[in-house]
Point group: C2
Chain length 443, copies 2
């Protein structure tokens, strides 16, 4: 095979054979295919798209470029959740203990925040001592002990995806649905899971710019997973305003602990419980989504989920007392409230500028190699649909008195819109897609 | 500026600013733009195309990536010809001496053969002692002495084009009209010319696969040249069967000498004279194309063109006696005729397989780093429209008894088609495009 011939086929809109895609991916490691050939192919894929069969072939090839974890020796259904990312999106830290307490094994490999969205690893690392860099043996051991494990991607997982992602970033070929789907799925399938629940975000704070594209991404990922023998469910959910009230790493951990005590904000509680219930249903532990919801609610009521959270924190080297004593988490030096300029109803609290503002405060990063400040962030006091009086605080900025505070403040001021008329927040859940693997399809 | 932003604009079909294109081209040398970013941009250009303004900007940027020869101190109109390449296409060696004898200064920088087409440099190098690698001083001196000079591209000419061409070749982004046009024009405009006559081939043996694309390429190149202050004329001409009878380096030099004596095959004589006449007309030496044709014919009749050919061969280190004694040129060891399998009229003699057959015999190269055998090739005895009797030779293969003879023979056998009905060869000239630079446009 020759790379220019394969590039030409895609360029001309002809389908690629699975063997051709596999050869191109192997060529990254063997240096038979050079970076500049892959980037031309990526642009041709961006242009021409990929069929489901091609996307599966790309996913499989990237998956097998590295280690695929085998969790067969661990009993129980292994189910993970993946979110396409948003602002204040901290459901992982809530639903993983809930699902584990309900009997699901949750082997969760997460990422770091980039751009305006936060990342689960950064949130976890705000817990003193918490280690996300477990090796594969520790990974399996924590999972077995706790029913959940919360780690970062190791270098052995899908190295071809890592390489191609860096190329896509440098060549403006990120926003391609088959490329996004294959990238996510190759990493998730390397975890050794039986099924995956997807939370595909749509709206202002999501990476997908239209509902149609969010739905297409959700369907594409479900199809890939099902063709590769995995149970797949996707919820398409709104990310117009931040999820919950906390945006920023330690602030979000505090909010997660509150949720696990049944005391979290309604939108975050509802979505976390719903995703956890989907995992319980997918695991076959309950016969219906209603029954699964009830089981999940019980893990909150009886403290079992909170106990799981304490247990996994301790197992991964962290201080489990943070769950009960927020004072043990890093706290920003200054708290500055941002006041409502007028009275009325909050009709918009745009997630993207609020996310960017927390990056300016130091909570996130614009380049992968940057560090983050775990203490800073924004606490919302008002969300869409809430009434506010002039001079009442809309939110509080937690910061270290740095110069970019003013920029962050302007961004957030512009993110909030207050009107005379009242609005109801749009329903969080937009669509549910569930696909089971065909009986005949093998891994 | 950032490469990903520029790639994104082209990806989304937005026009690029000249400054952005110039920055991308400069980035090749400064390493601010990496190969894999350029190849993604090349694929995006292949997809989205380029406006005339963008194509001019790319041409100018590549032109100024290297030396631009200044021939201002040499008196007289400097006009070159460029052909997009074909089989048996040897007009350069005929028209350059004719135009020079008619008073045009012809500074001609040519290329080598690649794939099924021949290259002027390979043909010239079949002349014992002939040197095509002159430096810029020698280049100007030979031009001044002889009225023509026939050399290869030096490393100082348009290095960015050399780099981008290699990338295009490795990423299947060669066949893009703006990229082809900018590549050709950046090299030609570096020669220091006032005007350029283009011979854009169309048909089986041409690189452009349809007449429409050939016409579009011709118009694009004329427009670039005119916008950059050059006089431009393009003839779109057929390349369905080889031009003339000889295909192969030394064989073609012999045929050129015959043409300069007025004894060449009709199609080759006509096209060479027409292109030379266009150069004379463009140079402003004659008031009409008819008068220019007459002047060119006179340089054949009085031996002036032949004398120019001898003079330039001697000036570039070659043996000028080859013009009168073909025995001084390399000659293949074996001559094998290929006989007509049936009687009838030759209705097709496809240029492409005949070109490929001569490459198999060793006359051309499939990779740029290969060498060529100057002695081998094919002499046609029959062309389209000729009647032939069964067993009569269609052509003679000049070869060295090597193993690929059989493959070459099969290719040529299949290239010839003999039918009962008679046909007339299609007229060589399809279209003429001429554009003068706008008075206001400066270089």
């Amino acid at each position: 095979m020759r790379a220019p011939d394969i590039i030409r086929k895609k360029r001309d809109g002809e389908p690629l054979e699975p063997a051709e895609i596999a050869w191109m991916v192997r060529g990254i490691a063997t240096r038979e295919v050079l970076d500049y050939q892959w980037s031309a192919l990526l642009m041709a894929i961006y242009w021409r798209g990929m069929s489901p069969a091609e996307t599966v072939a790309l996913t499989e090839a990237m998956l097998h470029s590295g280690t695929v974890v085998d969790l067969a020796r661990i009993a129980g259904p292994k189910i993970d959740k993946h979110s396409t990312g948003g602002v204040g999106d901290k459901t992982s830290l809530i639903l993983a203990p809930i699902a584990a307490a309900a009997g699901v094994m949750v082997p969760m490999v997460s990422g770091r925040g980039l751009g305006h969205t936060g990342g689960t690893l950064d949130k976890l690392e705000s817990i003193p001592g918490f280690r996300v860099d477990l090796d594969l043996d520790q990974y399996a051991r924590v999972l077995e002990q706790c029913g959940l494990v919360l780690v970062g991607q190791t270098a052995e997982i899908a190295p071809a995806d890592k390489k191609l992602y860096a190329l896509r970033d440098a060549t403006s070929t990120v926003e391609s649905i088959p490329l996004i789907a294959a990238s996510i799925m190759s990493k998730k399938l390397a975890e050794g899971i039986d099924g995956l629940v997807l939370d595909v975000k749509t709206g202002d704070g999501a990476f997908m710019n239209t509902l149609e594209r969010s739905q297409e991404l959700a369907r594409t990922m479900c199809e890939i997973g099902a063709r590769m023998g995995k149970r797949m469910t996707a919820l398409v959910t709104r990310m117009d305003e931040p999820l919950g009230l906390a945006v920023g790493n330690a602030l979000e951990v505090i909010e997660c602990a509150a949720c696990l005590k049944g005391e979290g904000p309604a939108d975050l509680m509802t979505l976390s419980l719903e995703l956890a219930a989907e995992m319980v249903l997918m695991a076959g532990l309950e016969p219906s989504i209603e029954a699964a919801r009830a089981v999940c609610q019980r893990t909150l009521d009886d403290g079992a989920a909170l106990e799981r959270f304490r247990r996994v924190i301790a197992a991964q080297g962290g201080d489990p007392r943070v769950v009960d004593d927020p004072g043990l988490l890093p706290r920003a030096r200054h708290q500055t409230p941002l006041l409502a300029p007028r009275s009325g109803c909050v009709v918009r609290a745009r997630a993207k500028p609020i996310g960017h503002a927390t990056v300016l405060l130091g909570a996130g990063r614009s380049r992968m190699e940057d560090g983050v400040d775990h203490s800073v962030g924004v606490m919302l006091h008002k969300k869409v649909g809430d009434r506010v009086a002039a001079g009442e605080p809309l939110c509080t900025l937690h910061h270290d008195g740095e110069s970019r505070l003013d920029e962050a403040r302007v961004l957030i001021q512009e993110a909030f819109e207050i009107a005379d008329h009242a609005v109801e927040p749009a329903p969080l859940m937009v669509e549910r897609i569930a696909i089971s693997p065909a009986k005949t399809s093998g891994p």
